[in-house]
């Protein structure tokens, strides 16, 4: 499998990259980790005329807490998330997700920005972002704009990143004390896309759920927020019955497609199981 010929640039600054994007228009694609794009090119599903490799642009790879946000540079590789002490100690939901993304070699290349910007509901970070109520920073010629994650995913491979723009940063509001989160996906084998995946992030204050985010992976055309589920939990004392109700809503509100991983009925049932399990895990971690 060999990609069709293309031209290649490796700009060393963001503005250079943006200028190249403008110059080449629709024919250009951004090369981040490349582990979604290059296989598509090798299969010749995608044949961009120009690749703009942003791996050489300094300053796009970092994990830091700053101004009330956890800020992650778009070019931060999965392996960095996996090995970051800050992430491990304070945001274990990320560790849950990264260890299930593809495999170690792919995680050495794959970036969080690419995982999100690809706009594939089967990717794992989008659900985590929904749970964490992240904001995505998108940089274009005219500067940087912030897009709430709920307004980011439009459709299949389609996101709020417009022509001429690059996703540059992910901003996550630092959860309050008493918060916890968890992610899990069912997969047929290591490295597979999710049969179903669920991310839960919540804050418990004196037994009451004051904040909750639930994101679903690969059970909808776009990464899906389980809004009704969140609705029944927020502001209430969490009981098993409430968790059951939340799980039921999530299972009903998603829209899974049948494939080799299972039919719609099975996937809904798995969403239900996973919501319950991730709720309990998140509650444990919130303690």
């Amino acid at each position: 499998m060999i990609p069709a010929a293309f031209d290649y640039s490796a700009p060393s600054t963001l503005s250079e990259a943006l200028a190249l994007l403008k110059q080449h228009g629709d024919d250009a694609k951004i090369l981040a980790g490349g582990h979604s794009l290059i296989p598509m090119m090798k299969l010749r599903f995608a044949s961009p005329g120009h690749l703009i490799d942003i791996n050489n642009i300094p300053g796009l790879s970092y994990i830091k807490e700053d101004g009330g946000f956890l800020k992650i540079g778009a070019m931060t590789r999965e392996v960095m998330l996996d090995e970051s002490d800050l992430i491990r100690s304070k945001y274990p939901i990320f560790s849950d997700a990264t260890k299930l993304i593809a495999d170690p070699q792919v995680r050495n290349m794959g970036t969080i920005g690419g995982n999100i910007a690809h706009g594939d509901a089967a990717n794992d970070h989008p659900a985590v972002m929904l749970a964490l109520r992240a904001e995505v920073s998108i940089t274009g010629e005219k500067g940087t704009r912030n897009v709430p994650i709920d307004e980011f995913f439009f459709g299949f491979y389609s996101t709020a990143v417009k022509a001429g723009e690059i996703l540059t940063e992910i901003k996550i509001p630092i959860p309050a004390k008493g918060s916890g989160g968890a992610y899990h996906k069912l997969e047929r084998k290591m490295g597979d896309y999710a049969t179903a995946g669920v991310a839960v992030q919540l804050t418990i204050d004196k037994g009451t759920c004051t904040q909750v985010g639930i994101g679903l992976t690969n059970v909808n055309a776009t990464p899906l927020r389980a809004s009704r589920s969140e609705g029944v939990l927020k502001g209430n004392k969490i009981t098993d019955a409430l968790i059951e109700q939340a799980a039921q809503f999530a299972a009903q509100d998603c829209s899974p497609s049948p494939d080799l991983r299972g039919d719609e009925e099975y996937k809904r049932a798995m969403v239900k199981v996973l919501v319950k399990r991730m709720m309990h895990k998140a509650i444990d971690r919130a303690k």
């Binding site: 293309f6 490796a10 090798k42 170690p104 290349m109 290591m190 490295g191």
Partner: protein
């Protein structure tokens, strides 16, 4: 439009002119004639093409040669120690019968090298997860796990585990 790139392959700097679409694995195998790195699946699932790029294990079938410009590439051919003796991971694979057909072996060893650098004393589970991006169709993985443990012990200077097969 062809590009001139310089890579350091197993310690030796090489300057080559390549098409941007040239895959790193083809650069290594075809342009630089180091055929120890193999191609098994083309879609980044099997890990036979694993090499170290600036010390990190990556799948060279899904990286462009131009992306390696200015970087260090290490392949199985560079594993031998300076005195010509086998590296710990090579000795471990041989002593523990961790290879049959040998096709996945170079990629598997390169992955194990990074795994052991990061975690010199991994548990069986950590090894199994750590090599989950490398498929082996021959060995059933038991002896690969054993070999990685053996190499870890050797690198740590610990007593080496027995390499005799254990039967129930």
């Amino acid at each position: 439009m062809e590009k001139e790139i310089t890579v350091t392959l197993n310690g030796v700097a090489k300057t080559v002119t390549v098409e941007p679409r040239l895959l790193l694995v083809h650069l290594i195998r075809e342009n630089l004639n180091q055929t120890g790195t193999h191609i098994g699946c083309d879609t980044s699932h099997c890990g036979a093409c694993t090499v170290l790029l600036d010390g990190k294990s990556v799948k060279s079938c899904t990286i462009l040669a131009v992306q390696a410009n200015g970087k260090k590439i290490s392949t199985v051919e560079g594993l031998l120690q300076a005195d010509g003796t086998l590296a710990a991971i090579q000795e471990a694979f041989k002593e523990n019968h961790a290879l049959h057909c040998g096709f996945c072996t170079p990629g598997m060893m390169m992955r194990a090298v990074e795994l052991l650098q990061k975690n010199p004393n991994p548990t069986e589970e950590q090894i199994r997860w750590g090599i989950s991006g490398n498929l082996c169709r021959c060995t059933g993985y038991n002896n690969i796990v054993k070999a990685v443990q053996y190499a870890g012990a050797k690198m740590r200077g610990d007593k080496l585990p027995s390499t005799e097969p254990i039967f129930v």
